[in-house]
């Protein structure tokens, strides 16, 4: 069973009081990736995670982690897992170190050396002997990640990890998770409703809505494929209308590209042109040569948010 999938969901279903919360979820998480789990509030993300870690029972189906079933072989399956479910709730009346010691004692082979190692990893050296109630949310989050990594899990599950973090904290966490996946080969499973966050962090995203898996998207498909498609590029200029005229004049549609159509327009004072990556530099050079002042160039690649709204039809789920 040493497949490339660390987690296998097979037809996972959860019903509470006749209401179907999760409906026939089937999904494989590949090893060593940051895998996003995206959905609007109330779509079943947290329920799925609770079932993954055995806090909730499945009504139907099976979840296997590292080949071991979470329902029938829990103690083996859970050894692969480090997790924070929702908020990083630690024992507030204990110090950070005592909290880590507490969880280290529950797993064989985690000694004081490893505790010190994760403290350094999480950057908590200075405050580790203070009580957790004096910690900021960001520090609690880091302590949460530290406890999840104690036993060197092959799967790290984080439920809405960026909730309540400031931009610096989010960025730090994001870089850290990518590092874990790339350097340590840990699979990171992150749930979120923050689309832009997922876009920056994940290799793949599964989109769930009303308990159903509706799409899986790869966000890091090789750079080459992205270049092949022209994307809208915004130019911030001092005289956009004049620039548009220059471009229409200078670049003929029937150029060496074999008659590719140029789509350009001025919207809200910005010149928007569908262009390939290489074209952007040339357009810029052309505009500068013609004496147009270029203040900014932005590529408007279709964001995950657009994709997300496209897939979910933009409707909110109650």
């Amino acid at each position: 069973m040493e497949t490339s999938a660390i987690v296998q969901f097979r037809n996972v279903t959860k019903k509470i009081g006749g209401k179907t919360i999760i409906d026939g979820l089937t999904l494989d998480l590949p090893r060593g990736e940051v895998f996003g789990f995206l959905g609007p509030n109330g779509s079943g993300k947290t329920t799925t995670i609770r079932m993954m870690v055995g806090l909730m029972r499945m009504t139907e189906g099976e979840i296997r982690i590292g080949g071991a079933s979470i329902a029938t072989d829990y103690e083996k399956a859970i050894r692969h897992v480090g997790a924070i479910v929702e908020n990083p709730e630690m024992y507030k009346y204990l110090t950070g170190y005592q909290n880590l010691l507490h969880f280290a004692r529950m797993i064989p082979g985690v000694g004081r050396n490893r505790i010190d190692e994760v403290i350094r990893l999480a950057g908590l050296d200075k405050r580790i002997h203070d009580k957790v109630k004096t910690y900021s949310l960001g520090m609690r989050q880091r302590l949460g990640v530290a406890q999840a990594l104690l036993h060197k899990p092959s799967l790290l599950i984080l439920d809405e990890p960026t909730n309540g973090l400031d931009p610096a904290g989010i960025r730090e966490l994001r870089d850290y998770l990518r590092k874990l996946a790339e350097e340590e080969g840990i699979t990171v499973f992150v749930s979120s409703h923050l689309l832009s966050e997922m876009e920056l962090m994940c290799d793949q995203v599964a989109i769930i809505q009303a308990g159903k898996l509706i799409d899986i998207r790869s966000l890091r498909s090789g750079d080459g494929s992205q270049e092949a498609v022209p994307v809208p590029v915004q130019f911030e200029l001092d005289r956009p209308d004049e620039a548009l005229a220059i471009i229409r004049r200078s670049i003929r549609p029937a150029g060496d590209d074999g008659g590719r159509e140029i789509r350009a327009s001025v919207r809200e004072g910005l010149l928007v042109i569908d262009a390939l990556r290489e074209d952007i530099a040339e357009l810029n050079a052309l505009l500068v040569k013609e004496g147009i002042r270029v203040y900014g160039i932005r590529s408007k690649a279709k964001s995950l948010e657009d994709q997300f709204l496209e897939v979910t039809g933009g409707e909110s789920v109650v």
Binding site: V53, L55, I78, I84, V85, M90, Y91, R105, M106, I107
Partner: protein
């Protein structure tokens, strides 16, 4: 499997690293010392050592129950209230073993509290009044058996009250596992402990056979000590009381385990 002792060590850490335990124990020892001290200094003819031990035992024993019940009621429900239960359960341990470690730590706390009271009662009163030998239980504890010594009654009494404490604590532990709110569990458990005696007397008024099986009728086992030749007490024997307590104990444990190991942990 690997070391179950570590789990108990964890639970102990969570009990004794909090100030409240030390405040409770401090209050207990202080109260014993204060009562003895006042009796020693303010009375023209000071009471004897065993008299003070007898009085203070009756006053302080419910306090030990209350402390033990608070710890028991909080030990499971408190984790739900704080949300830490989620991190506790996602470890390579079955829920049964985690619950068992909590139960063990609870009983240990009850035992330590009892031991502390035992030591405090003897030490404080020996310091103030000096040890009295050859005192009969009939004089100070009001036991029926004229031959029994105060020392023997004192020890037996602690033993009996420890049995009651185990049942009471198990009741609180069950409430703790069933209700996930720490405050509710503590409140409900304290209500049961404090009202237990009154409820017991109330039930005693009812002239029906099933009343004999009510828990509160059996929580005071000290009445069976030193009965001498009288044998039965209100038609009941120690054996019968112990059997009823054992029955309740099994129910409490079964319910705790059933609920805790099966429940979905949400919110």
């Amino acid at each position: 499997m690997f070391d179950f002792g570590n789990l108990v060590l964890n639970e102990n850490m969570k009990i004794y690293r909090r100030a409240r335990v030390w405040i409770m124990w401090g209050l207990m020892v202080l109260a014993v010392a204060a009562v003895s001290g006042i009796a020693y200094s303010s009375s023209a003819n000071p009471p004897s050592m065993w008299q003070m031990v007898a009085i203070e035992m009756i006053v302080m024993m419910p306090l030990v129950s209350i402390f033990a019940v608070i710890v028991a009621a909080d030990i499971v429900a408190g984790e739900f209230t704080a949300g830490t239960i989620k991190l506790l359960l996602i470890r390579p341990w079955s829920r049964s073993k985690i619950l068992l470690s909590k139960y063990a730590a609870t009983l240990l706390f009850g035992f330590f509290s009892m031991a502390l009271l035992y030591a405090a009662l003897l030490l404080v009163n020996i310091i103030f009044f000096g040890y009295e030998k050859g005192i009969k239980a009939a004089e100070v504890f009001g036991a029926a058996d004229p031959a029994m010594s105060a020392w023997s009654y004192f020890n037996q009494s602690f033993f009996m009250q420890f049995i009651s404490l185990i049942v009471t604590v198990t009741l609180a532990f069950m409430i703790s596992s069933v209700f996930r709110s720490g405050a509710l569990a503590i409140g409900l458990s304290l209500f049961v402990v404090l009202m237990g005696k009154t409820l017991g007397q109330l039930f005693g008024l009812i002239d029906r056979k099933w009343v004999d099986y009510v828990l509160f009728q059996h929580l005071d086992l000290t009445r069976y000590i030193g009965m001498g030749s009288s044998g039965a007490n209100g038609g009941m024997t120690l054996g019968f009381s112990l059997a009823v307590l054992a029955g309740y104990y099994v129910i409490f444990m079964a319910l705790s385990w059933f609920v805790f190991t099966r429940r979905d942990v949400a919110a």
